[in-house]
Every structure is written in C-alpha cells, then in structure tokens.
Amino acid sequence: MTQHQIVLFVVLPMAAGIATTFLHRYRKAQRWVGAGFLIANIVFACKALATVVPNGDILVSQMGNWPAPFGITIAVDTLSALMLTMASIVCFSVFLYCVFQFDRDQQGGFFHPMFHLLILGVQWSFITGDFFNLFVAFEIMLMASYAIFCVGTSRKQMKQAYKYVLLNLVGSTMFVTLLGLIYGQLGTLNMADITRLAMSDQLPKSSIPVIAMMVLVFGGKTAIFPLWYWLPDTYHTLPSAIGGLFAGLLTKVGAYVMIRVFVMMFGTSQAITDVVAPILLVSAGITMFLGVLGAVSMHTVRRILSIHIISQVGYMLMGMGLAIATGIASDIKEMAVAGAIFFIMHNMVVKCCLFLCGGLMVEHAGDDNLEKIGGLLKRAPWLATLFMIAALSLAGLPPLSGFFGKWVLLSAGFQSQHYVVVFFAVLTSLFTLLSMLKIWSYGFWSPSMGKHVDKPERRPTTVGGMWGIAILVIVALSMGLGAQKYYTMCSMAAKSLIDPTNYVKAVLGEQNTPKLAINDMLPETSPKKLVIKSDSYETSGH
C-alpha cells in the first residue's frame, strides 16, 4: 500500500454511504454494495498493516499537498493500522448479523447509509493527524450514531436517545472550545507539530490546564469513572447488534484517541503527565471495579454487557496511566502501552461478539431477562459454544485473548509497583468471570424457560448471525493462540508512541521543523502561527 492510498479508509465508507443512500429502495443491491465495500475495507486494512508492521513505517499523506502544520495530515502508523484492521473486521461481522437477523423495519429507512457513515467517522478518527479533523470525524461518527439510535425507535429508546445526544453534544462543544484554546496557546493543531512542541518542552504553562481538560472530553466518550453515567442507560435500549457495534467501536475510538493524545502527544511533557497520570490511574481502578459490580448486579443480558463495557475501559486506562506515570522505566512503559493496545483490540472483538450472542439468545428465547430464559444449551449448542469462548476470553482465562492483555497490564503494574490498581484489576477479573457465568448458568444451563424455547416451530434462522459471531470468535481465538504475534505488533506500536520522534519526522519532514521558512518572521518567543510570507504565497500557485 502506498502512502496516498490511506485516504481510501475515508473514501471507501463514504462512497458506500452515498451509494447505499441512492439505493435505499433496492434492498438487495444496498446489501451487496455494502458487503463489497466492507470486504474491500478489510483487505485494505490488512494491506496497510502488512505495509506498516515489518519496519514500523508510517504512511503519511498531506491533503492537497499543503506542507504539514498548515494543511491537513492523515497518517497511518502501527497503532492506527491495528485499530483499522480490528475495526473493519468488527464492522463486517456486525453487518452480516444485521443483514440476516434484522427484519425489514430495522433495516429500513436509511439504516445502511448510517451504518457506513458511522464507519467513516470511526476510520477517519483512526487515521487523522490533525486535531480539528479529529473533531469533525467524531461529529460524523456521532451524528450517524444518533441517527441509528433514533431510526424506528420505541418510546423508551427515544427518551434514552435524548440523554445520549445531549451529553455527547455538550462533550463535543467542550472539545471544540478546547481546540480553540489550544490553538490560541500553541498556534497549531497538527498532532505531530504539537508532539514536537511537547518533546522540545515548548508548551506554555498556561496550556497545561487546557490540555488536562481534554481528559474530560475523551473520558466522556470513553465512559471513564465519573463520566460514565450515560452509558448504562442508553446502550441496553439498542438492538443487540447495534449495541455491539457501538460497544466495539465508539468507546474504543475514545480509548484510541486517549492513547494518541496523552501517551504520544503529551506523554513526553512532564508537566502534563504529572497532572493527567494520577487522574487516569485512580479513575482506572474505580472504573473497572464499579463497572463490574454494576454488571454483576444486573439481570438482563444486554444490561450486563453494557455496563461491562465500562469495566473493561478501566484496563485500558490503567495501561495509559502506567505509560505516563512518573518514575517508571521506559521498557515498562512500553509494556503498559502495548498491553493497553492489545486490550483494546481484544475488547473490540470480544465485546461485540458477546453482544451479537446476546442478540441471538433473544431470538431463541424471546426475552433477554435472565430470570425468564433458560435451556439455550440444548436449543442452540453452537451458540452456546461460541458464547462460552467469547465469555471466557473476556474474563481472561489462559489460552484466550483476554488473558494475555491482562497479563501484560498486570505485570507492568507489578513491576512499576502500582499495587492498588493491580489489586483492583485482579478483583475485577474475578467478578467478570462471575458475571459471565451468570449469563451462562441462567441463560444456557438452567432448565428450559422462555417464550419460545420449547417451541420447535419458533426456531429462528440464525445462520447469518452465527457466521458474524463465528468470524469474531475466530479472530479472538487467533489473538489468544497467536498472542505472541499480536503482542509483537502492539509493542512496536507502543515503542513509537513512547518515543514519537519517528512520527514527528514522518509528518513534519527530516529537520523536524516545517519547510516553509516562516518562523523567522516572528519573534522567537511567540508560538508559531499560520503566517504566510507574501512572496511564497504568490509562488504557491494562487
């Protein structure tokens, strides 16, 4: 894959969105077009990964050929490529599930275009190298998610949709205000350029509170401890597959951005990590523990899984917090980030898979209240098998993917002597197993119960959905059995995040400073602003 082809990650889903909009009367065509684009997406993501991984290259493309801090940069490094690959696989599986399991109403209207536009927003956030662009990508992703939330809704869903929409709007407004302030302080919004400022210790003191406030914005999207209140109320009202898509992508985009911002961009700036690291670590412990307690106390499949998202976010936060905490050796930091990245990838796949399983459980039993269903093991043995693998993987039992993610995070925690957070992480693991066993024993093991369970004539066709789940389980298994391979890629990504010199070089050019000889026009002390020399303005073709 050449460097300019990375724009395909934005172009493909956008084309799919537009095409399916025009095809909205032709359901079959809509599905085939969607499937084609999604498969192409997976292929390109894998190609990008194969290009980037061997040497840790970074594919950079400057939009419109404007040089880096002035134009919009898109860049794919190892982290982005890993995220893109996992996200595209998750999207395809959810798509399969939706196509085969959703009835006409649920797929009607503009569901398919919204689905593709959501993917557009997600992938754009993964590849953008510009802060304001990130905001735009977030907005596209969120708009699509609002629309999916509201299309063909029940009353209950509508009311919860307000909560979701309004909270996200406030979050976005805060984001855009902070971006304005950051621009005012630093004079640039290019991620690599900000990284350069942080690395050379040129961040003005007044920018520290503004940057620390970013925790609020991304924390809200990721659902970390004090800001997670919107999630348990909203996700469980969604159809399972959509819940899976949101769980697998939206909160993980937040986690990805947090890694990108706090580990890569500002991880080298002592003044900022001193503020942010304790917040992240404390929040990590509380998030994971309270989240899992909430999950254990719930009685419906979707609610358990929804609240579980929060608890899993805690582990990612733990990795980030360890990566920027002071007084930790850089190899342990690397380990922590690699663990967090591994965990995000594992979680995208497994969480989404469990949601899809939950959806099929409802199809079989007619309900998702655990007290009203049972006996699904006899009724759907394959579903039970796949669910069991995914659930044990989430809980982190040894040969499966969750184990390795947690193992790396825990050993990083031990070696850096953050015992409290490690203690909570282990405890949370235990409760995770408990909550998964709760679904297992009530839903699958207990005597047959539920509206449809005893009626063979109400046996739903679940082949398509099962394929979706199977793909995810296979990926999860490969992450467990081939953990070494995945971990090597993760630690490569982590290495380039802890020391972002290569990223800055790749985006800004060799000398680490912009080529346009503009800075000398301004006094040394003032931050660099977009000022274009009048003569270079003419030569640039205007």
């Binding site: 708009m143 009353r155 302030l181 602003k529």
Partner: protein, 116 residues
Amino acid sequence: MNLLIALMVGTLFGASAFLMLDRELKGVCMGVFMLGHGANLAILAVSGSPAGKLPPVLSHGVDIHTFVDPLPQALILTAIVIGFAIQAFLLTMIVITWRRNQTLSLAMLATEEDAH
C-alpha cells in the same frame, strides 16, 4: 475587546447552562444551541483582535503582522456547519417526540415512561 468577548462567552455559557436545566425539551435544546455559539465565539477570540488589520488576501510586500489569522475562522465555519446539522437533528427529534407524546415536559415524559 478581549475582555468583552470573554464576558460574552461567559454569558452565553451561563445562559445555556441555565436553559439546559429547564424542565422542557425546548429549553434544553435552546441551551445546546447557545453553547455552540459560545464555543464559536471563544475560538474567534483566540484569533486576536481584527482592529487595524487587513483581510487575508494579500498583495505583494504587505507587512504580515497586519494579517488576521484565518484558521480560527475556518474552524468556526466548520463548527457552525456541524452545529447547524445538529440543530436540525435535535429539532426533528423534538417534533417526533411531540407527535408521539403531545408533551415536551420532561416530568410528563418520565411518568409516561413508568406507566408504559
């Protein structure tokens, strides 16, 4: 000028917070719209005072220190477009809610929910 803009931003944020605590959805949405305007104004403020400066289409040999930074304005433009889409979406949601429930009061919506 900066003080004036700061005060205006503060007023807009304050008013929008007040509106968002309203018991009716209309008020809540108005609050959200206003919040967006406050944010835009805040971004504008960082571009510096435009007093005595030229528009950013320069002829040869003009002193660049009179050049207003156009980037924040581009940011605001984008934010306005996005904000507009969001306002349209929220208003649509309100219309649908009204058609279904004949009320926009949050308390009424909540009680109906429980009875449902």
